[in-house]
Amino acid sequence: MSDMSTRETVMPGTAPGEDLLIEVTGDGDFQTADMQLSIGPAHPATHGVFRIILEMDGERVVDAHPVIGYMHRGFEKLAEHRDYRQIMALVNRHDWLSGFSNEMGVALAVERMLEMEVPERAQWIRMLIAEWNRILNHLMFTGSFALELGAITPMFYAFREREDIQHMLESATGGRLHFTYNQVGGLKIDLPKGFLRRSAELSAITRARLQDYKDLVLGSDIFQARTVGIGPLSTDVALSYGVSGPTLQATGIPEDSRVTEPYLKYGEIDVPVPVGENGDSFDRFYCLLHRIEASLDVIDQIHDHMPSGPVNVKLPKQVKAPEGATYVRTENPLGQLGYWLESDGGRTPWRLKMRTPSFSNVAVMPHLLRGTLVPDAISVLGSVFFVVGDIDR
């Protein structure tokens, strides 16, 4: 077997001409060559076209190489050829689970450049819908993370809740995923009658049902066995990779743009920020689930503050951001979303750069995956929350 001690394997790399050369040297008959396991681009655990190549020794992950770009759609370039109204319909599609928050970021950027006064009511409604959007997003990940660990039921419960919330949001915005409800200077149209009552009702219902997830998932001994201590992320590493959102909060720091750099009217209300301790899979999920509760708290406060009045300002026929640039950061469901908007005064942006939370969260993945087993790799993959469209844009 001496001829087996050195072996070279060529595997297709991330780009043409960049094949990975894997050379394994070893002695002894039981030395096994590392195996490459390609999780994705079409794999049940990646919910999207995301690929991660695992180099494995048995079931242990030696190294991991995320391969992104399967869903690249050129959003940033497209945005340079769309006017601001069209951009609203465009940006709610890169992270399709946070459509409203995305549109809002662009609207805020343009408004900031125009130094436009947005009506109070519009700001509060934006917050209300953004929080519901956050809950929708987090419910989705609550279900999908449990599903990746093998529990099928939370997914269905999450969809039951999502269905109610989506129906409510549809009554106001007309959309279930791509709301396209924002416009520069406010919202397209005011809420329909009864929306706020339904919102208060759903807030109570969702809060009551959260206990089910705590009993079924968070408190389950098997769930804890699968997540506690898995893929721990330290605050330093998280910050150096630009990780944000629940993944960062799980490491123990209460960083949340709504609190640290309030936009809209977040400064006037109390936003609870749950934090974890070890930054492991369990803490990430813990933060996710408690962020739903925090959002419900915020929603209840918004109901108490909701003023009356107009929801938009009269716009010129063609909205043109004045020349200059601005950077707007918002706390998207998955973390910090930033839009760098540079305008030359025309009807389209000169440049719209997106800083998306999923990209940073995925970047830290190899660091977390080294040394784990395949099932733990799935636990990490499911708890570092990302949307593939948000990575690739």
């Binding site: 050379e23 394994v24 002695d27 008959d29 060559a33 898995i230 721990p232």
Partner: protein
Amino acid sequence: MTGHDLAFLVVALVTGGGALLTVTSKNLVHAALFLAVTLSGIAGVFLVLAADFVALVQLVVYVGAVAVLFLFGLMLTRAPIGREALDNQNRGLGIAVSGGLFVVLSVLVIGAFGGTTAAEVGGPRVGDIGMVIFNTWVLPFEVLSMLLLAALIGAILLARRETGDSGEEQAPTRIDMGTAPSMEAERMARLEGGDDQAELTAGGDPGPAAGRGEGRA
């Protein structure tokens, strides 16, 4: 020729054919699978001879466990699996030894039981076996179980040591994929020293390492 004889003939043919294919098959996994067929065939022979308890023991121990472990071992280790040619220079010696063994065993068995039919012998009842094991042969039985226990503990120990200090035993793995120098340095640091490794599993479950050992044992 009775139905009994016919059944024996069929089972014997399957067994013999399986054995022949086991040694002639060029694919290791196929050979192991043919071995499983042979062992099942032997269970069939026992059944035909009305030794149902032994037949079932044959099935559970050899087919259910030994053959599976064979395959398990073949798939886990880097044995030449697949369509690689499998051949051996000691073919002649092998034929001679197995032929000799066959002759000796045949002579012994015919000498001991020649002339008696299966019906005359009758299958041993489970109760009888139990009586014999726990009365006459109780000492060898206990000694044997001690031996098995020792083997079990030894296997676990071996498996644990293999993964216990993997930092030293693991052969250096060099992966050239044109990554940035810093990444490369980080990787090398991780592979050479145990520090990063320790950090990765710090506070984590020490289980995976031990668990895998058990899985292999």
